[in-house]
Subunit: 254 residues, 2 copies
């Protein structure tokens, strides 16, 4: 087992045919054997959603030396669960998710399927990283993000990550000044719907909106890093307990 | 505006026709004016998923003095966003989600649509609580959970919650010894799929599994409280940053 090449699980939420996942898989092939296990179609905004009422299916789409691609009809979290429970011979040494077409900085960590997949890898104690490029276009230029992904993944393969912690990495467009370890920017989306009419004249609501940044001046957060040309890495905890509030709440007489 | 009755938004992930949400709305009518804004159907396991590629619809289903019901074709998070962005005249004083048919303790906080809705209320700075009863049956007895919900909701209306913190409340079946403020139990689901065949003889995978508790002996967590007859309240943070790991990670040369 000595000198065995690392085994790397690659997934995303834009679907197996997206340019972003092809770029990420290509970057990872320099580091190890790659298994892609990704949704059959667009699954953005799926957070950590799992499919409970319908059966899942998965099929092998491609296989060559050190590179296998599976496609699945589930969410990003379903893909990770199914790959790890049923399809992979051994636990991977690394999970990478993305490269997402579009930012997952700030509060988007909560809604992102790309991050959801990394969180799921983390549940399984696999060192896991979500990568996103701040460019929504299908033909975005992922070359700089591929470099960041290669460098950071190599480091995580060497160093590991603490139990219960995964990484949410966002990369700005254009050249990158460097990589900053940051916090999740506090803020929220506002004006989230565009009201329109369907063919029968009934109201429908399409998601849209703007991110309202509550920490414009904080140089430690991911939005600041991105605005200033840095790739931003937020370490993300899967234990969501608000430990600070427990002593105060225990004083409530319930 | 003095002595105005509190305005309470009620949602869930089992759909507007579930017994759990009817029970929760009934419990809340003692405390204030109630707006129910809930999914048209079963949306379990949806986490904080949002609908981005399809339009949302919502319609008024019922209206009487101090009690309005809207139904929406989206996820629990969509329901909260749409209610707050487009349907409610003022910001509610409280959001309650549930009562879920089934436990959302431990790692389930990550997958739960019931909790996802409370997290979304928290994003909007509305004091928010998710309630779940450890009984999956459609006709579960929610009377004890209604009492817990009434008491805890009254307290939260009086005391508020810290910015960025919501509550995940799980209630065991039968009588309850009391309410314990707890941490999120560390652990994960294992053996998550039942492999079966479809009508054409092809493999399909149905979600199933068992919770593997890594902290059996820890009396501070929610699974311990539930196993010992207490309702468990975990305060949940929406800032997922792993602050502890930042200094160590900053030492990585990237």
């Amino acid at each position: 087992m000595m000198n065995r090449r690392p085994l790397i699980l690659v997934t995303n939420d834009d679907g197996f045919q997206a340019k972003g996942i092809a770029s990420l898989a290509e970057a990872m092939r320099d580091l190890g054997d790659v298994v892609v296990f990704a949704p059959d179609t667009h699954r953005s905004g799926m957070s950590s959603a799992i499919t409970t009422a319908q059966p899942l299916r998965a099929w092998k789409y491609k296989e060559e030396e050190g590179y296998t691609v599976y496609v699945c009809n589930g969410t990003p979290s379903d893909c990770v669960k199914l790959a790890l429970n049923e399809f992979m011979d051994r636990k991977p040494d690394l999970l990478v998710s993305g490269i997402n077409h579009g930012s997952n900085a700030g509060i988007s960590v909560i809604y992102s399927g790309t991050v959801g997949a990394a969180i799921e890898g983390c549940v399984f104690d696999v060192p896991s990283i979500a990568f996103s490029l701040c460019d929504f276009t299908p033909d975005a230029d992922f070359s700089v993000t591929m470099e960041v992904a290669r460098k950071l993944s190599k480091k995580v393969l060497e160093e590991g990550l603490p139990k219960g912690v995964c990484l949410n990495v966002n990369v700005p467009t254009g050249d990158v000044q460097g990589v900053k370890v940051t916090t999740q920017t506090q803020g929220k989306w506002v004006n989230e719907y565009h009201r329109a009419k369907d063919g029968g004249g009934r109201d429908v609501f399409w998601m849209t909106g703007n991110f309202e940044n509550w920490e414009e001046e904080n140089e430690n957060n991911d939005e600041w890093a991105l605005a200033n040309g840095y790739a931003a890495v937020v370490p993300v905890k899967i234990d969501m307990t608000a430990y600070d509030f427990i002593p105060r709440m225990k004083k409530w007489v319930l």
